[in-house]
Every structure is written in structure tokens, then in C-alpha cells.
């Protein structure tokens, strides 16, 4: 099909890059924002702008609240009803209670798993969750959308397309294509080392775009590779579900064997039992960590077989000082005695938890957090420049042949690059403008996001007719100006509606809000520079065309 290997790699890189570049852009841009998801949450929910705090007492604070969570998430319940043979009972049995926190969380997320009876799926369950203020145990209002952790973060791996997990599959396929694009990119690139530091901003757009594509691609190659790979590994169970399908009997036998060895029962006993002091178990766990020279706080706590005589409690450290996870400690619920400790991880498991930990970043290391954010931005730059290069390389030829391929690629590129930033800022602006007590406020916020994005698509398609004449679409510059207005608007609205203006947050050193504001201002500045440069270039090009036609007229005269 192709005369040589390099050309076949070029074909792969070009077309898979174009097709999935749009998806990758979403994954990497929102992935980068997810590095600071908790900080964006603080910006979006002003009532939670308080210092992060450790897990509160289970016995006095958490246990009474867990007992009040009796209803699963309505969407999950509706989905569960479709997969069972008999109608579900009014109250579902509680399987587990759990709470998760990190060193960046001032609020605590609490989860309850409910058993779905008569389901064809093994261990079928649905969730109920609430978020509380750990200072007084009060539940946060339900209609407050944590834009960072509940909207941007799931966007980067599911695109919010939850039907049949289709979004996860699209992103997974894109990550796989990214791995292929990296390998083929290295094969195509003839001067990896000779042009390692090369960026020539003053050459023609096509050349400088390719320079930036190569630069951002090559210098952060390990980052691109490791993050696409670890993203795939995190959802390996979804993409490659053999343990739940083909190998289910083997996996079930293994689980059973492990349960007999560890003493941690797989199923509730059926006889009711009482729960000893979980605070006592936590104190014992903390004492063990101190003894081992790794003192720490609790990150994750889970009670299995709630209310049953064989209930057990697993306590995990928050592991702020390491990349991977740590061993869990498991206590007998009725007595509070330690019954099992996870053994040290083997080689495969260590690598696995390192890759996953690196992607999830639960550690406390702000330098590394920022560096990883920078890596995500470099990936985004690499994808954007790839898309722009695709258009630049073809637009003249397509214009002469009266083909519209470059135009459509450009319109989609505008939508996924500047349009996505516009939508991101639009949801933050909506978050500050919508009345606090509005019913389904979260739905309004999400709708603003999608509406803004759709508007950007329409605008990009409308303005991209310029590409048909081999010019740059004015949509790029215009949407950059929209970014400037929205970013500055969001910062001002935050100051007006919450009183937490930059002078205050900076002087108090409250970084979650100060940082979000500063990043939006930086984004506005960059967008303004980009818009001005684009427009200056466009005027210069238009003048050149005018002079050209004048000269022609003079010659004809």
C-alpha cells in the first residue's frame, strides 16, 4: 500500500491524529484542569472555601450521617431497575459505608453501596453519596456543582457520554491511538536530536506550527506516553473485563480462596451484629504507621457488610508522601481487632500502583503537581499544533481544488481548542451569575457549558469559509477575544459575588481561589496576545493580497 515504512507511519499519524485529536484535546485539556480539580471546586462553591482538614471522628460524626443515607442516586436506581428480573424493594440493603478525603479536601465525600438483588451481574450494586462539611457534619446543598471534581474530571475520561460507557470507550480508543501516534511520530521525525530545541516563531505559520508540534511532542515524550498508558491501565477492567466475563469462575474461586486466607468474608453472614468503635481502629492504625516511621492521616475508610456480624473495617493511609498506594489494615467490626494486613506488593502490582498513583496524584507535592499540569498543557499544545498543521498544509491545495476538507477540519479545531476554553469559562461565569437558590442550579450550569460550546461550533463553521480561500479563519481570533472577556469577567464576578478578590486571597495566602483567578487572568493575557497577533497577520496578508491585485491591474492597464 505504501512505498516505505515512513510513509505508512505518516498516513497513520495524520489520519488517526486528525480523527482522534479532537477527543485527545478534550482528554488532555480537562485532564490538566483536573490536576487542580479540588481548587476549582473551592472557586465554584464559595461556602467550602475553608482549610482542608483530616477525616473527622467516625463514631460521633460519620456513623450517624451514614445511617441517614437511605436512598441511592436516582439515576443509578433507574438504570438498575432496567437490569433486574423482579421489581426492586422499596429499601435496598446497605453493603458498605465509605469516606474518602485527601490533603486538599475541606469537605468530605461519603458513599453508601446498596445491593441490587436478582441482578444477572455479580456483586451488582448502586451508590448513594453526600458531601458534608466536616466541621459540623452538615450536608452541603445538593444543587451545588463541584465543577472541578464532578464536571471537568469525569469529562476527561468519559466525555459525559454515559450511555453504554460509550464515552470511556471513545477516550480509551483515543489513548490507544495516541500511543500509536507517538511511535509513528518518532518514526516520521527525521531530526529528533538535531531540532530538539528548535522553535522558529517568525517563519511561515506552517513551519513554526510544525516546530512547536515537534518541540512539545519530543521534550515531553515520556509524559505523553506514560499518561496515555496509565489512563488506559486505570480503566483496564472496563476495556478488558475478562475477570467478570470469560474468567469469572476462576476469579470467583480466587476471591473465595483469598477470603479464607485473610478472614475477610466475601458475603455478609446474615446475622445482625454490632460495630465496635471505629475511632479505636483508626487510632490503632495510626499508631502502627508511627511505629513504622510513616505517620499519616486516614485517606480512605470503608465498612464492609454493614450491620452484619461479620462486618469488617478497612483503613487506608492518605499516602501524601508517595506516588503509589499503601497496604490496607483490616479490622474485625464486632471486636475492633486487627485481622489482616495487606502483604507488601509484588513487582507487577508495585508498577501498577505507581502508574495509577502518578495519574491520580493523591500525593502532597505542589512542585510535581504544577509540573504535571505543565505536562498536560504541553500535550494539549502538541495536539493543537498537530490539528493546525493539518489545515495549514492542505488549505492552499484544497482551495485551488475547491475542496472543503481543510475547512471542516479547521472549524472542528477552532471548536475543540478555543471553543472548549470558552465553554470552560462560560460554566464558571454561569456558576457566579445564577441565583444561589435556583432549582437544579447544577443542571443550568452544565447546560451553559454545552450551549456555549455548541455556539462556538456554529460560529466556527460560519467563519471558516475563509479557509476555502486559503486564509486563516477569523473565528480563531474572535473566540480568543471571547476568552479574554469571559476570563476577566469570571475573576471580577468572583470578586463581586463572594468578596474574595485577588488582593484578599493573595494577602491571606488562600491559594485555591487565588490560583484559579490568576490562571484565568494568565489565560486572558495569552488569548489577547494570540488574538492580536492573528489579527495583525490577517491584516498584513490582506494588504499583500490587495497590493498583488493592484500590481496585476497596473500590468493589465
Amino acid at each position: 500500500m505504501f512505498p516505505n515504512f515512513r510513509l505508512s507511519m505518516t498516513w497513520l499519524h495524520t489520519w488517526f491524529g486528525l480523527l482522534l485529536g479532537f477527543v485527545l484535546m478534550v482528554a488532555f485539556f480537562f485532564g490538566s484542569l483536573s490536576v487542580f480539580d479540588r481548587e476549582i471546586d473551592r472557586w465554584a462553591i464559595p461556602a467550602t472555601r475553608i482549610e482542608a482538614r483530616p477525616m473527622p471522628s467516625f463514631d460521633t460524626t460519620l456513623a450517624p450521617i451514614f445511617r441517614t443515607i437511605t436512598d441511592p442516586d436516582p439515576d443509578e436506581l433507574a438504570a438498575a431497575k432496567t437490569r433486574v428480573s423482579q421489581p426492586l424493594p422499596d429499601k435496598l440493603a446497605v453493603m458498605t459505608w465509605s469516606a474518602f478525603t485527601t490533603h486538599r479536601d475541606p469537605v468530605l465525600r461519603m458513599f453508601v453501596e446498596f445491593k441490587v438483588p436478582n441482578s444477572p451481574l455479580p456483586d451488582d450494586h448502586i451508590h448513594g453519596s453526600i458531601t458534608i462539611d466536616p466541621r459540623d457534619g452538615k450536608q452541603l446543598p445538593e444543587n451545588r456543582l463541584a465543577i472541578g471534581s464532578e464536571f471537568f474530571y469525569p469529562m476527561h475520561f468519559s466525555l459525559h457520554l454515559n450511555w453504554a460507557d460509550i464515552g470511556y470507550w471513545i477516550v480509551g480508543f483515543a489513548a490507544l491511538a495516541m500511543l500509536a501516534a507517538l511511535v509513528s511520530g518518532v518514526v516520521m521525525h527525521r531530526k529528533i536530536f538535531r531540532e530538539f530545541f528548535t522553535f522558529r516563531p517568525n517563519k511561515k505559520i506552517q513551519r513554526s506550527t510544525l516546530d512547536l508540534h515537534n518541540l512539545s511532542g519530543v521534550v515531553a515524550l515520556p509524559f505523553h506516553f506514560l499518561w496515555a498508558l496509565s489512563g488506559l491501565i486505570i480503566f483496564a477492567g472496563l476495556y478488558f473485563p475478562v475477570l467478570g466475563t470469560m474468567m469469572r469462575p476462576l476469579a470467583a474461586a480466587q476471591e473465595k480462596l483469598e477470603a479464607t486466607q485473610t478472614g475477610l468474608d466475601l458475603e455478609p453472614s446474615g446475622t445482625p451484629g454490632t460495630l465496635a468503635s471505629v475511632d479505636g481502629m483508626v487510632a490503632e492504625a495510626k499508631a502502627m504507621w508511627v511505629e513504622r516511621g510513616v505517620p499519616g492521616e486516614v485517606g480512605f475508610l470503608i465498612v464492609h457488610h454493614v450491620g452484619s456480624s461479620n462486618a469488617y473495617v478497612s483503613v487506608y493511609r492518605d499516602n501524601t508522601d508517595r506516588v503509589g498506594g499503601g497496604p490496607g489494615l483490616h479490622f474485625q467490626g464486632s471486636t475492633g481487632k486487627l485481622i489482616h494486613e495487606d502483604p507488601p506488593e509484588g513487582a507487577v502490582s508495585t508498577v501498577n500502583s505507581f502508574l495509577i498513583g502518578m495519574h491520580l496524584q493523591r500525593f502532597k507535592h505542589w512542585t510535581l503537581r504544577w509540573l504535571i499540569f505543565a505536562g498536560g498543557i504541553l500535550s494539549s499544545v502538541c495536539i493543537v499544533t498537530g490539528l493546525v498543521f493539518f489545515v495549514e498544509k492542505r488549505k492552499r491545495q484544497h482551495s485551488e481544488q475547491r475542496r472543503s476538507g481543510a475547512r471542516w477540519a479547521d472549524a472542528l479545531a477552532v471548536t475543540t481548542v478555543t471553543g472548549m476554553v470558552v465553554a470552560t469559562l462560560a460554566i464558571l461565569v454561569a456558576n457566579r451569575l445564577l441565583p444561589e437558590e435556583l432549582a437544579q442550579r447544577d443542571l443550568w450550569e452544565k447546560s451553559t457549558f454545552w450551549a456555549a460550546w455548541a455556539l462556538c461550533l456554529v460560529h466556527a463553521i460560519w467563519r471558516s469559509s475563509a479557509v476555502l480561500k486559503a486564509r486563516t479563519s477569523p473565528a480563531w481570533a474572535e473566540q480568543c477575544w471571547a476568552i479574554v472577556v469571559l476570563a476577566i469577567g469570571a475573576v471580577l464576578l468572583n470578586a463581586v459575588t463572594t468578596g474574595d478578590h485577588l488582593f484578599k486571597t493573595l494577602s491571606e495566602g488562600y491559594w485555591p481561589v487565588a490560583g484559579t483567578d490568576l490562571m484565568m487572568l494568565a489565560c486572558a493575557a495569552l488569548a489577547a496576545i494570540a488574538a492580536r497577533r492573528l489579527q495583525r497577520r490577517a491584516t498584513a496578508a490582506a494588504r499583500a493580497v490587495d497590493q498583488d491585485s493592484e500590481l496585476r491591474e497596473v500590468r493589465h492597464a
Binding site: 530538539f196 530545541f197 512539545s216 508517595r322 506516588v323 502518578m358 510535581l368 509540573l371 504535571i372
Partner: protein
């Protein structure tokens, strides 16, 4: 030394190492010094210095954090340092002349 100081030093050292590696290349030497290529000896020396400095950055990272974390910090620091050096070479190449203290600034 506090970790913050070590990490700042590591980032700075990574930039320094990347800059020397760039200066060992003809194109970038010309951008910085304006004169023809560096002599082969100088070029080799700069390359050695560059790699040694990047290694020093790794040691600083290892001093600040546990090994698994340090390797990640180093890997990401190298990427950011390389981009920084590339951008300096694009817009303010002359700034890198300070990294060649034995050369007198060329009169222009």
C-alpha cells in the same frame, strides 16, 4: 536543606543543563554567539557539562524526595527545562551567553 530550596535548585540546574546541551549544537551556538560553530573540543565539553548538570538535577531531586517521586519530578523538570531553553533561544538567545563566561562578549 529545605525541600523547597532543593527543588528550586533542581529546576534551575535542569534548565542550565539543557542550555549547555543546546549550546553544544552549531545552530544554537550561532544564535547565541553570532560567530561560527564552536570548536569540536568546546562542543564536546559543553555536551559533557550539560549531561553532568542534568545528572546533578536528578541527585537534587533524589535528595528532596523518595526515589519514585524524585524520578517523576526529574522527568517533568527536564521537559519544562527543554521548552524554556527552546523559547529563550527563539526570543532572547543572547541571554544564554552568560553560560559561556570564558568568552568575551562579541562586539557587534
Amino acid at each position: 536543606m529545605p525541600d523547597a530550596v532543593l527543588l528550586i535548585a533542581a529546576l534551575f540546574t535542569a534548565c542550565l543543563g539543557m542550555a549547555w546541551l543546546a549550546l553544544a549544537m552549531d545552530v544554537h551556538w550561532k544564535q547565541v554567539c553570532g560567530s561560527a560553530s564552536p570548536s569540536p573540543v568546546i562542543s564536546k565539553l559543553l555536551r559533557g557539562l550539560g549531561f553532568a548538570t542534568l545528572l546533578a538535577a536528578l541527585l537534587l531531586c533524589l535528595e528532596a524526595d523518595t526515589a519514585t517521586m524524585a524520578v517523576l519530578v526529574w522527568m517533568m523538570a527536564l521537559a519544562v527545562a527543554a521548552v524554556t531553553v527552546a523559547f529563550v533561544l527563539s526570543w532572547r538567545p543572547r541571554l544564554l551567553a552568560v553560560l559561556l563566561p570564558w568568552r568575551r562578549p562579541t562586539a557587534r
